[in-house]
Amino acid sequence: MNRALNTLAPLALIAVLLAIWEAACRLTGVPAYFLPSPSAVAAAMIENGPLLLGSAWNTLATALLALACASLMASCLALIIATNRLLEQAVRPLAVALQVTPVVAIAPQVVIWAGLAHADRAIIALAVIVAFFPIFSGALTGLKSTDPDLERLFDLYGASRWQKLTRLRLPSAIPFMLEGHKVAGGLAVIGSVVAEFVAGSGGSQGLAWRILESSNRLQTAKTFAAVIVLAIMGAGLHAVLETSERAILKRFRGR
């Protein structure tokens, strides 16, 4: 009963807001290019369904590829750095600088480097940059978060550096790395959309391109439809990552 109410409440709120929006559009007669009614957006979504889904898949594939690359690079780098304090001191400021630089600021240059004919490469590279930091920082924190008493125990029994790394530090890092991947997944989507906006040419066929294209043509209902598909996709990816994080942690800790 309570659970049913909990799921119904947000749906009911959305329905009420949509109804008000629809009524306002009809009563005021505001032009559709300025504010389309929800029914017009729904119609645009159905009409452009296959196109939007295809574009969504392109954006999602870019984000997932970027996530995989970032995961590999960030984990390896963290692993190398965690074994050497001086190296960590050297790399940390660079990593932070990379993190605080907005992706739009470097996007144009990256697009030029990738070559205008290869906008897709630039987009993936930019999404990788955005997704890199949370994984890197999570892995590094995790590798250093071992219980000091457990570490003493390993020393007491004469564990080698390799044994300490594989049997103590890596497993200790897993919860932190899962969290890092969850955050990075969301950022990878944002990163690929932003990069696509900047690259903004025919080479890329993701959702950002649909948004740009339709808004340039004043097809506002289609713009809305594309934004909604983007939001649903982002939420879906987040939900999948969150569920798998929980499932893995449950297996990991046994509860």
């Binding site: 219980d147 008493d149 457990l150 003493r152 125990l153 390993f154 020393d155 007491l156 029994y157 004469g158 564990a159 044994q163 049997r167 103590l168 497993p171 897993i174 990991f252 800790r253 046994g254 509860r255």
Partner: protein, 249 residues
């Protein structure tokens, strides 16, 4: 008789002149159980780390005849690997010393049986109660059949009933291989119950204040907690503690 370990005028200074211990002397004979009692921060854990060979003294000497793999430590918290089940946790010291996995796990299973946890061998630490987790930690310490067993306030986080059961368990397990035991505690009665020799330390940096010998059979007979020798020892330790606090004031 060769000693298992000896601290001679051992001192530990951390950082900028922060003296944590000593000078402190301690002779540890094979098979004896010694309790260290003293106020918080007096250097008990530091002394234990010296005995374990995990740290070097700043001044003085530490002599250890228990070799690598012959010393075990139990910390205040169970200190188990949360991702590994009980039997893997207990098998860890054996696996680290190069014994093959199957044999290590078989021995770990036996050690778990000895602490009454045969049925929980595939349970992870998060699913164990505090007392059960501490038993796993004890099993892990004993699985290597150490000559020197160091217990750092192992039961401090547990309730009184569990503590008493575990104190009996320590004696029963000690009786199987007779390691030398150093038992750190804040609790006067627990010290008198567990140890044959109770050493009271002064507030930090810890020095020897007094020593009480408890000449009663081990494991303790039934009703020992209400016996005369037990009460005498507990009072003697309390007096030493009071003296140590007065000296500090």
């Amino acid at each position: 008789m060769t000693l298992v370990a000896r601290l001679a005028a051992a001192e530990v200074v951390y950082g900028a002149g922060r003296q944590a211990l000593g000078p402190f002397d301690l002779d540890l004979a094979p098979g004896e159980i010694v309790a260290l009692v003293g106020p918080s921060g007096c250097g008990k854990s530091t002394a234990l780390r010296l005995l374990a060979g995990l740290e070097e003294p700043t001044r003085g000497t530490v002599t250890r005849t228990a070799g690598r793999g012959e010393t075990s430590v139990v910390f205040q918290s169970p200190t188990l690997m949360p991702w590994a089940d009980a039997v893997s946790n207990v098998a860890l010291p054996l696996e680290l010393s190069g014994i093959d996995r199957a044999e290590a796990r078989a021995k770990a299973q036996i050690a778990l049986e000895q602490v009454g946890l045969a049925a929980s061998s595939h349970v992870k630490p998060a699913q164990l109660s505090g007392g059960m987790a501490m038993r796993v930690s004890l099993a892990r310490a004993l699985v290597t059949r150490p000559r020197l067993l160091l217990l750092d306030e192992p039961f401090a986080a547990l309730d009184e009933i569990t503590r008493r059961t575990l104190a009996d368990d320590v004696h029963r397990l000690w009786d199987q291989t007779r390691p030398a035991v150093v038992f750190v505690t804040h609790n006067v009665e627990e010290a008198a119950f567990v140890a044959q020799r109770i050493i009271v330390m002064s507030p930090g940096p810890g020095r020897l204040v007094g020593e009480t010998v408890m000449a009663a059979p081990l494991p303790r007979p039934a009703g020992f907690r209400t016996s005369e020798p037990f009460r005498f020892a507990a009072e003697a330790i309390s007096r030493d503690l009071a003296a140590s606090m007065r000296a500090a004031a």
